[in-house]
């Protein structure tokens, strides 16, 4: 499956789950702020990706759960450098470079772009 094929299928999933138009689903589009995704939509997207690609997605694998849970990783509403490293290790498909410049918890969601989802699916397919 080529990268274009993966993107096309991911785009169909996002169009179904988020009721957006195909042309809104650009690689740099942020799921939450650009495409209106809410927490229940992340669950829906996970289910639909499993079905579309025949992969199994564990809880917290694609989108993080309980980012603020570990006190070692959060201080005063900011994620610590240790926390960022841990997050990056757990989520290699997400680019946290911009997030590291303004590591407020509320900004984590902005790192979840369409590109991150495509990267995640590619790595899952490669490991099948």
């Amino acid at each position: 499956m080529t990268q274009d094929d993966v993107f096309a299928k991911v785009r169909t999933v996002l169009v179904d789950a988020l009721a957006v138009d195909e042309d809104e689903v650009a690689l740099d589009a942020i799921l939450t702020t650009d495409l209106g995704a809410e927490s229940i939509d992340f669950l829906d997207i996970g289910f639909k990706l499993e079905q579309a690609f025949g992969i199994k997605i564990g809880q917290g694998e694609l989108f993080p759960d309980n980012v603020a849970a570990d006190p070692e990783f959060v201080k005063d509403g900011l994620i610590t450098p240790k926390g960022i490293a841990a997050l990056q290790a757990r989520m290699p498909h997400v680019d946290l470079a911009d997030f590291a410049k303004d590591p407020r918890i509320v900004n984590v969601a902005k790192a979840f772009t369409v590109r991150a989802v495509v990267r995640f699916v590619e790595s899952k397919i490669a490991r099948k």
């Binding site: 927490s39 229940i40 939509d41 669950l43 829906d44 079905q51 849970a69």
Partner: protein, 176 residues
């Protein structure tokens, strides 16, 4: 609480499928406003009353059908909350004196929640004929798993006495 939009569960395949029916009745108050008779006005002719089941309550009926299926699958330990209506298509109106049959199927389920697909059928008690009139896809969230730290009342307030009575009357064990 009396917000029951299904009357009887007729089939339950645990973790997979639940079929329920709802009889639409003239005794339902809202039918007399949905829709009422309309007098003639300017260029518009008069129109008689057209009592039909509101689509929102058909969706609620499917949500109760699917919600019980999802809740039963985890022995009613989870607080199952309707979180998303993915799709709701209804192609016909449903008048009183007819029966709605909801068939909900679990498409996906995990600790965070579940996705269900559903078919809505219109049954004619006079002839026994049935036909599909719509499809409703839903997503449910398991509340405690997704709002850690938030305070909720003791016990499972989602599956109230009304639901338990419905399960019992339909011959399904409801000891929770």
């Amino acid at each position: 609480m009396r917000w029951m939009w299904i009357d009887r569960i007729i089939e339950l395949a645990p973790g997979r499928r639940l079929v329920a029916i709802k009889n639409v009745s003239m005794a339902e108050d809202h039918l007399h406003d949905h829709f009422p008779a309309r007098p003639a006005h300017a260029s518009r002719p008069a129109r008689p009353a057209i009592p039909v089941m509101p689509a929102s309550l058909i969706i609620e009926g499917m949500a109760q059908t699917a919600g019980i299926l999802v809740g039963h699958a985890a022995a009613f330990r989870e607080k199952v909350i309707l979180a998303k209506v993915g799709k709701a298509e209804l192609h016909e109106d449903v008048p009183p004196g007819f029966t709605l049959r909801y068939t909900a199927t679990i498409a996906h389920m995990d600790p965070a929640g579940a996705a269900t697909t559903g078919v809505v059928e219109l049954l004619d008690p006079a002839t026994g004929a049935a036909r599909a009139i719509g499809a409703i896809d839903l997503m449910f969230s398991h509340l405690d798993r997704n709002l850690a730290g938030a305070q909720f009342p003791e016990g499972n307030f989602v599956f109230s006495d009304s639901f338990r009575n419905l399960l019992r009357a339909s011959g399904i064990a409801a000891d929770f």
